[in-house]
């Protein structure tokens, strides 16, 4: 659906994209990178709104550099921007109808599609009220609706979970998944949170500093080990729970280290999970010692670190979703 070939974008002072070559197929594709990694620049180029400095890019078979294809691409693609983009004094219905007409839908079709789309994103009676009174979650749904209303072949969603609480985040991710499975529309979704994308996406592309770090199917991630952070309570029997835990794990051949310099250093043990067994092992050790398990979570420090050196340390078993996922790339 999208193919770029050594695509570069240089501004006078910064290089936003540096010889980026990626292929994005049908399905849900995550584009992960810290703020300023070049995600939004890439979307702008793909929409035909900003010329690339060098290299080429194709969207749905159209060459973005061809001036006549910009309109053709934008007619077939939906775009949900990262920032707020909704006028507060009109209702969601009126706004989405207007945006549908701006995409070329005739008036009657625009109204029908708007009603359908707003229902699909989960806006019901409130759609007749002015947008100004909506919650962040509702606004995100309106933004998503305007990207879907013209039934595009592909949507670009720029940070759709921004500003949402955990429940809203899960709902939005579920919705993104449905865009592909139920609506049959391919999705390119950006985020700086790898954790949430690997749950939703078929394929994840990681960029940093405009360079491609990695592009792989999320299935590949499940094979790969991850860093696990563990915190336990102290008990009367074991006044220093962390130390006892470390020794017990060592006895079973599991290397641990303390995340010096990280929040909670000293109370937290970091270890490399080799798969399901490690989680069970930790659970058993904690239970044997009679300690309380305060947390067991995946730890990442920075996206580039996660993906450096290939498979050394990376990602999560997909079925371990009950384990809280840590945000990656907060620095950025």
């Amino acid at each position: 659906m999208i193919a770029t070939e050594s695509l570069s974008k240089r501004f006078p002072r910064v290089t936003a994209l540096d010889r980026l070559s990626v292929d994005v197929g049908p399905g849900v594709t995550g584009l992960v990178g810290a703020n300023g990694a070049g995600k939004s620049t890439l979307i702008k180029i793909l929409l035909g709104l900003s010329p690339a400095t060098e290299g080429r890019a194709e969207v749905l078979g159209f060459d973005v550099a061809d001036p006549s294809s910009g309109g053709a691409i934008r007619e077939r693609v939906g775009y949900m921007p990262e920032h707020d983009c909704l006028p507060p004094d009109v209702s969601a219905t009126e706004f989405v109808v207007h945006m549908a007409r701006m995409s070329g839908l005739p008036p009657t079709a625009a109204r029908e599609r708007t009603a359908d789309t707003l229902r699909h994103v989960g806006l019901y009676e409130e759609r007749y009220r002015p947008i100004g009174g909506y919650s962040t979650g509702m606004k995100q749904r309106v933004k998503l609706a305007q990207a879907l209303v013209h039934d595009p072949q592909m949507v670009f969603l720029d940070e759709p979970t921004n500003g949402l609480d955990p429940v809203g985040r899960d709902e939005m991710l579920g919705l993104i998944r449905r865009i592909h499975t139920d609506f049959g529309i391919s999705v390119l979704v950006t985020s700086h949170l790898l954790g949430e994308l690997e749950r939703t996406c078929d394929h994840v592309v990681v960029i940093d500093g405009g360079k491609l770090l990695r592009s792989s199917s999320t299935k590949d991630f499940t094979q790969i080990t991850t860093t696990l952070a563990i915190e336990v309570t102290d008990t009367d029997e074991h006044p220093d729970g962390t130390r006892v835990m470390r020794e017990a794990l060592h006895a079973r051949g599991v290397e641990t280290h303390e995340g010096a310099g990280l929040p909670g250093a000293g109370h937290i043990l970091l270890l490399t999970a080799q798969g399901e067994e490690t989680y069970d092992l930790v659970r058993d050790v904690v239970a044997d010692l009679g300690l309380g398990l305060v947390r067991m979570e995946q730890r990442r420090h920075h996206i580039s670190e996660v993906f450096k050196d290939g498979d050394e340390r990376a990602d999560v078993p997909a079925d371990a979703t009950d384990v809280r996922k840590e945000a990656v790339g907060h620095g950025g």
């Binding site: 749905l60 309109g71 983009c85 006028p87 070329g104």
Partner: protein, 313 residues
């Protein structure tokens, strides 16, 4: 074609959906996703849609009840004097309307300025402030389409505002059985004049408002430009008249929008000049007036294009 292929590969497209969802009792109305196979009317249609939305918006239509108040009030106030004049003309069997068609807009210029100040910022500052502009440019339209639609929308709104009272006057004049040829000619000249006025005012208003995302600043700036330029020109013209240097009066008129229109119509559209002492521009000066007006309209369009090329996404 690659595109079509990927489309059909998608797991559960439209048609299968209703059956898949039928068993789900939680959402009775959920009839599944329906894809759209109808026509897509493209860029020119999108531009027209934006135009009609801007024009409607300039009278508060499709917006909150609150935003309808001012434009509708101004429209009414704009037409009431025309109605009164017509009533008087009919009642007194007058030979002519109390005010020329071309003069009406000049007399009501404060109202036109107020309307422009309230609606030009809402036409463009809103999109800038709430960052709706990037959404437009993620659609098939391009910068030029956006600028043209907005410009045409506001100019049309101003034309409706300024031409409506002329229509009232014209209909009234015919009812009062005034001379048909005279009235039609005057009406046509009046329409041409307000058309020019609408284009000029809309351009100036939009350029000023497009600079700032803050509506308040836009309103204040438009009012300031309109009143200060007119005030300054009138005062200096009055001084020139007092000192009997009438030759400079027409040249001074080049420096404010409404006096520009006044100059053009007194040179070419048979209007009597509203300048002090009725010293309108000569035909030669009239050409300069026309050139300045057209230059300003083109300049405003150019500035808007430049402005929006940068706003982008």
């Amino acid at each position: 074609m690659a595109v079509e292929q990927s489309r059909t590969q998608a797991p559960a497209r439209a048609g299968e959906q209703p059956t898949a969802r039928a068993g789900e009792q939680t959402r009775i109305h959920d009839i599944g996703y329906r894809s759209y196979d109808g026509p897509r009317l493209g860029r020119a249609y999108a531009r027209r849609s934006l135009y009609s939305q801007s024009l409607r918006g300039a009278y508060g239509l499709g917006r909150s009840a609150k935003s309808k108040v001012l434009p509708m009030l101004l429209f009414t106030v704009m037409c009431v004097p025309a109605l009164i004049m017509v009533a008087v003309a009919v009642a007194t069997q007058a030979n002519d309307l109390p005010v020329d068609y071309t003069r009406y807009a000049v007399i009501m210029q404060a109202l036109i300025g107020l309307y422009l100040a309230s609606q030009a910022p809402q036409a463009v500052s809103r999109d800038l402030r709430f960052k709706t502009v990037p959404l437009y440019f993620s659609r098939p339209i391009e910068t030029a389409d956006y600028v043209r639609a907005k410009y045409a929308g506001l100019a049309s709104a101003l034309f409706i505002l300024t031409a409506a009272p002329l229509v009232v006057l014209y209909v009234g004049a015919l009812l009062a059985k005034l001379d048909f040829t005279d009235q039609t000619k005057g009406f046509a000249q009046g329409l041409l004049s307000v058309a020019l006025l609408s284009l000029l005012f809309a351009g100036i208003g939009l350029v000023i408002s497009a600079v700032t995302p803050r509506r308040g600043f836009g309103v204040a700036a438009v009012i300031a430009v309109m009143t200060i330029s007119y005030g300054a020109v009138s005062v200096v013209q009055a001084i020139a008249f007092e000192q009997s240097s009438s030759d400079v009066i027409p040249w001074l008129g080049l420096f404010s929008p409404i006096t520009l229109i006044d100059g053009v119509q007194s040179a070419f559209l048979g209007a009597s000049s509203a300048f002090p002492g009725g010293v309108g521009p000569s035909n030669g000066q009239g050409v300069v007036y026309v050139l300045v007006v057209l230059g300003l309209i083109a300049g405003c369009y150019g500035l808007l294009m430049r402005r929006y090329r940068k706003v982008g996404l």
